[in-house]
Amino acid sequence: MNRSIRWIAPLLLACLILAACGPNRERDEDNQGEGPRASGSAGELDASGQIFAYGVSYETSDEIAQGRIDYFTEEFPDVRVQFSESNFDEQQFLTAARRADVVSVPRERIGSYVASGVLEPLEDCIARSGISLDLYYPASVEQVTVDGSVYGIPLDYVVTNWLIDTDLFEEAGIDPETWDVSDWDAIAEANRALRDVGALVGVDPKVSDEGDRFPMWVRANGGRMISEDGRESLLDTPEVAEALSFVKSIIDDYGGHSNFLDDRGATGDFFSAEQFTEDTEGAFPIQQWYLNVVAGSAPDTNFMAKPFLDRQGNPLTMAEGNAYAIMASSDNKDTACAFITATTSTDAWLRAAEMRQKASEGPQTGTAPANREATERIFAEYVDLSEHPELDAAMQVYLDTLENAFYVPTSPAAEEFRRAWIGAVTSVLNGEAEPEEALRQADEEAQSAIDSAGS
């Protein structure tokens, strides 16, 4: 119990020392394999020497990252890249930022780092490398565009749709094909009906885990969390309050948030798809990476995907993912530019897909590049789910919605904004506050944070 704040300073120093001598791995010309070659990806760049990529893993990563990086090191054999071998972490980034050349950052948070002045605008990089941003999904590019300047090259592109346990739905007397997810009353009725037939969780709106999918419910209701330019919080609006009231009503059907969480905790191992194999959970919206979980643990279980819809019945999904950015303090920006453009190129992604195909023993559901051309070619050339029709159909639902994605605009106080609305959602779900009051308070806090961070 004697661990106290006075240990933080020496702890930080120790972390610095460990970071300096610790888990970083270098990747140089010892690459193997033969992948497709890019043509002219270096453009006018003079790429050489060494760079440090923070938030990027090689040794400790899967074949997707390794394939893309192998491609880069083949294209630029004289470049040495050092990796942090970690995901992006705000605290670690504070110490790593001063020596990093490249950072992989969640797109939603990029605005905070732009406001801090640590990221380099990429217009020069984009022009000299010869890449076209048209290659990337528009939502991913717009999310990294701040005041007209692009600050990141989108890496991955993850969207969300409904996954449904068809056995449970049939048992509850609901046809999953015709279940209308644009009708919120139908969602609430399905939740109750599924629980009546023994599902621990009928419908999980996925708003309990740090808010998670809440922006989708807001958007489905015609609202927005924040203005397009990220400067105005829109949390205190009727559309947001109505969305919050609705998801709370779903949670209240369980007798409160804690009961819901306890029930959900008992649905089984999420990463073994036990909610489907054990028929413990009816439906929930989730990103497409979860199809890989299903493919790996229960590829022939009975389930289906449905597009998430707004209340008018239009497909609607939320785009998320990381972007590669260049640190303004980098003294090797040409090489950093070569790295972020080459590793997100179509050829790099194809190389990764090829490696995954070789490594995969069971069905594989592809990758999720923000590069549109790469996505189309990977699913045309490398992904074959013909022996697993349910997985194949589900994957197709996700692919069909890639162009219907919105994004939560980044802001100068991205993390404070996120914490403000998560706090409001959680307090309402916990029954500690009414939606309007909680959102008004969150809106004030968020706007204050944005104003002070952006000034």
């Binding site: 119990m1 661990r3 106290s4 704040i5 801090s116 002045g117 640590v118 885990d209 905790g265 959680t426």
Partner: protein, 317 residues
């Protein structure tokens, strides 16, 4: 300080013999590792954070402007300061008396254990204290889980209510108190050492005078170890006000196993301070929060010392 007094002290130092001056130098030399460490790791950062508390310093850009008392004024409007202070004080009020009482009970039990197993028991009680805080937090995510956690399974077996320790805002802080009580080995060891120092003849005299076990506890044991009790009271109070690692691991870390239900109930003061410094990049504001906590700790400790004059017995005073 008057010039007479200063001159007197200077005169006194100058009257030191060469041997005394040499002793002083040696003493300073031996103390120097601590002095250097104190200046670099405690006094220096404290002064730096005091300066930062008057700025809007951004740790990422390394830039900040002087903004006077704005950070302190902001605290008055920030409802999370009040919320986190409330959570922290709630925890302290529950934890500190329980840790001292339970620690004393365990120390008395240990004191009664003799033979070759005595050492093993002492080690067992202290073992949780050498467990890393992150491991403790992770462990208690499993123990406090509802309905599959060890604690609730035991409670269910006894047909007792099974609270949702990790998800119910009314129970989250109580669960954290339980978790921290698991690590009271330090308190137990200190009180156990104090108990061993109570002269046996005092108990014999009390017994001869007809005192029962309760009277001996109240009139002999507690007065004789009141210094140690006061010490653990102060230390545990300060530590409880600075609770961070376990709670952050459980409810706020990147790979937390708990839901966001603890977003408000488990928002302890130092967690909020940490978030401002390292997540919101508001190091100036976080420094101001740190100084508010410092003032609160000093005030509470001062109050405890004032009270101690009435309740604490020091041999030789």
């Amino acid at each position: 300080m008057s010039s007479d007094t200063a001159a007197g002290r200077a005169d006194k130092v100058s009257r030191w013999s060469a041997a005394e001056r040499r002793t002083l130098l040696w003493a300073l030399l031996f103390l120097s590792p601590w002095i250097v460490g104190f200046v670099i790791f405690t006094a220096g950062p404290m002064l730096w954070s005091l300066w930062l508390s008057f700025t809007d310093y951004n740790p990422l850009s390394g830039q900040g402007d002087f903004i006077g008392l704005d950070n302190y004024a902001r605290m008055l409007e920030d409802r999370r300061v009040g919320l986190s202070l409330w959570n922290t004080l709630y925890f302290s009020v529950l934890y500190v008396p329980l840790s001292v009482t339970l620690g004393l009970g365990l120390a008395m039990l240990l004191n009664g254990v003799g033979g070759r197993f005595a050492g093993s028991f002492r080690t067992a009680f202290y073992l949780p204290n050498v467990t890393p805080a992150v491991a403790v937090g992770t462990l208690f995510l499993l123990i406090l889980n509802n309905p599959n956690g060890l604690l609730n399974q035991a409670l269910a077996a006894l047909r007792l209510p099974t609270p949702s320790w990790l998800n119910d805002p009314d129970w989250i802080k109580n669960g954290i108190v339980l978790m921290m009580l698991w690590s009271i080995g330090g308190t137990v060891v200190i009180l156990f050492a104090a108990l061993r120092n109570v002269p046996a003849e005092l108990y014999e005299a009390a017994r001869v005078d007809g005192a029962g076990p309760i009277q001996r506890l109240l009139n002999v044991t507690l007065p004789m170890i009141s210094g140690a009790i006061f010490f653990v009271l102060v230390i545990n109070t300060v530590a409880s006000l600075q609770l961070f690692s376990e709670v952050y691991t459980m409810f706020f870390g990147q790979r937390t196993g708990a839901s966001a239900a603890g977003e408000s109930s488990a928002l302890f003061y130092v967690v909020y301070l940490f978030r401002n410094a390292f997540e919101f990049l508001r190091m100036g504001y976080a420094s101001a929060l740190g100084w508010l906590l410092f003032v609160i700790v000093v005030l509470i400790t001062f109050f405890q010392f004032r009270l101690s004059k009435r309740f604490v017995y020091y041999e030789g005073e």
